[in-house]
């Protein structure tokens, strides 16, 4: 079989079997039980909540992230095996939402880990969650969900941003590009 065809089958399989990390990072976790249970039943699409990050493919970051949680989120994300996908759930992951002036929550998730799909709203309805999963499946099918590759490629930048948030200070704001220029 050709390599390309093989890849295509592999993508079809992985889109039909998205295992999710069972990590309630914020209040969005409240709408996850209805989505997982009888009313909306995510398992129809092969989506299943997994207990540990090693077994999972999708990381649903449910809602706002306190900096203390961000540390765990990054750890969990790094423990997941490639290919892995991130869904940012709710307004809080997009721009801070309700907590735009809170000193302890991050405002834009994509600065710290790559996000494939965002869901808007506070809270997003279960239909929106399922829709986002379908969108993600579509992206996997087309080979567009490449957040995990981005994380490898721009690892220094993500790490720099994470460090700034973890330490609550902007000591080395210099973009990495300029550093390179200075050295050369």
């Amino acid at each position: 079989m050709k390599h390309e065809e093989w890849k295509k089958i592999s993508r079809i399989m992985s889109k039909r079997s998205l295992w999710m990390v069972h990590f309630c990072t914020g209040c969005g976790a409240m709408e996850m039980p209805p989505v997982m249970t009888s009313r909306y039943d995510m398992e129809r699409f092969g989506i299943f909540a997994m207990a540990t990050p090693r077994q999972a493919d999708v990381f649903l970051v449910t809602g706002y992230l306190a900096v203390k949680t961000l540390k765990r989120v990054v750890q969990v994300y790094e423990q997941m095996r490639d290919p892995k996908y991130v869904i940012g759930f709710g307004s809080c992951t997009i721009n801070g939402g309700m907590y735009w002036d809170s000193y302890n929550t991050i405002k834009d998730l994509s600065k710290y880990i790559p996000v494939d799909v965002y869901i808007a709203g506070c809270m997003p309805r279960p239909e929106a969650i399922i829709d986002s999963f379908l969108k993600l499946m579509d992206m996997i099918d087309k080979g567009e969900a490449i957040g995990w590759q981005k994380y490898r490629k721009y690892y220094d930048q993500y790490k720099r941003n994470q460090k700034m948030a973890f330490e609550y200070r902007l000591d080395e704001v210099k973009p990495i590009k300029e550093d390179d220029k200075n050295e050369s």
Partner: protein, 321 residues
């Protein structure tokens, strides 16, 4: 000389085919179990072929890290061990690698993959996995006692240690299940089967709410795929063992009389029987909580084993009289 080589090749081909069939049935059973659970829980559930997709996807995942070569080998060890166990079982009256003393051999072969699994989990160094392995070994100790006693009773009754002979003795629908004493024995063994299949109330080793899936905590990607294959094949092997012991291996037609048609019908019956046995386990799984490990030990050794001893005494007495 040529004929011999052809014979061996044919044998290998059949064995490979059987193993593949076993894995396929295991994957199908995984999907069926999830579908049935979903229906009990008022849900639609995944498609029945979900098991295939999951395993395929897991093998397509990249391996970022490893916990050492024991960890890598353990999963392989489990899968090959369980496949070997499957080959030593008579399936629908058709024995592949059966020999005379194979009932004990099968018990050992069933323990080997579990040990491999435990080894891998231990190598991962996660405390949850360590607790899970302890629990897995303890529950193995627990359910094997009543199971072995019932098996010994059967060996004495049928005067053989070979599973193939036990199956043969139950031909013409003279299943052990219909003998009152072994009907009780079947119930005892079914409880042990519940523990072997790691279904509730005996899913203590993987209890997600307590130890986050226990031994499987650090497994992911290809390792988890292999483990899932092991577990799926495990359901087939364990239910087949039960069917062989009590339901005559699903043999309804004699091969000598009907030829290839008998094979076909027997395989169909065997499939239906292991499915029924498995579904009973799944349904019990869905309505019961899990025991604590010492409660499981108590259950197996106090109630299950006591009935098994009663069966043993009955059989020995019957033989003497």
């Amino acid at each position: 000389m040529v004929m011999e080589i052809v014979d061996i090749l044919e044998k290998i081909l059949i064995l490979a085919g059987m193993v593949t069939l076993g894995f396929a049935i295991g994957m199908l059973f995984n999907g069926i179990a999830r579908k049935v659970s979903a229906r009990i829980q008022n849900r639609v559930g995944p498609p029945v072929y979900q098991g295939f997709i999951d395993v395929f996807k897991l093998f397509g995942k990249k391996t970022n890290i490893s916990h050492g070569w024991i960890f890598d080998l353990a999963a392989l060890f489990s899968v090959s061990g369980i496949a070997l166990a499957f080959l030593f079982l008579p399936v629908a009256g058709y024995s592949m690698l059966s020999t005379d003393g194979d009932l004990f051999l099968i018990l050992y072969l069933l323990a080997i993959p579990a040990l491999g699994f435990a080894l891998g989990a231990g190598a991962s160094g996660n405390p949850n996995a360590a607790v899970g392995v302890m629990r897995a070994l303890m529950s193995m100790l627990a359910y094997e006692l009543p199971l072995v006693m019932v098996m010994v009773a059967m060996m004495v009754y049928y005067n053989t240690t070979s599973l193939a002979n036990i199956v043969a003795a139950q031909a013409n629908m003279q299943w052990a299940f219909f003998i009152p004493i072994f009907f009780i024995g079947a119930l005892v063994a079914d409880m042990a089967l519940q523990g072997m299949l790691m279904e509730k109330p005996f899913d203590i080793p993987i209890a997600p709410h307590e130890i986050a899936t226990g031994p499987m905590v650090e497994f992911g990607g290809k390792h988890l795929g292999a483990l899932m294959l092991y577990k799926m094949m495990g359901t087939v092997v364990e239910t087949t063992l039960f069917v062989d012991l009590f339901l005559g291996g699903g043999v309804v037609l004699s091969v000598a009389q009907y030829g290839w048609l008998a094979y076909l019908v027997n395989f169909a019956v065997w499939f239906v029987l292991i499915l029924i046995v498995f579904l009973i386990a799944v349904m019990i799984d869905n309505v019961l909580p899990r025991f604590r490990i010492e409660q499981a030990l108590k259950f197996y050794w106090k109630y299950d084993a006591l009935i098994a001893i009663f069966i043993l005494i009955w059989i020995f007495a019957g033989v003497k009289i």
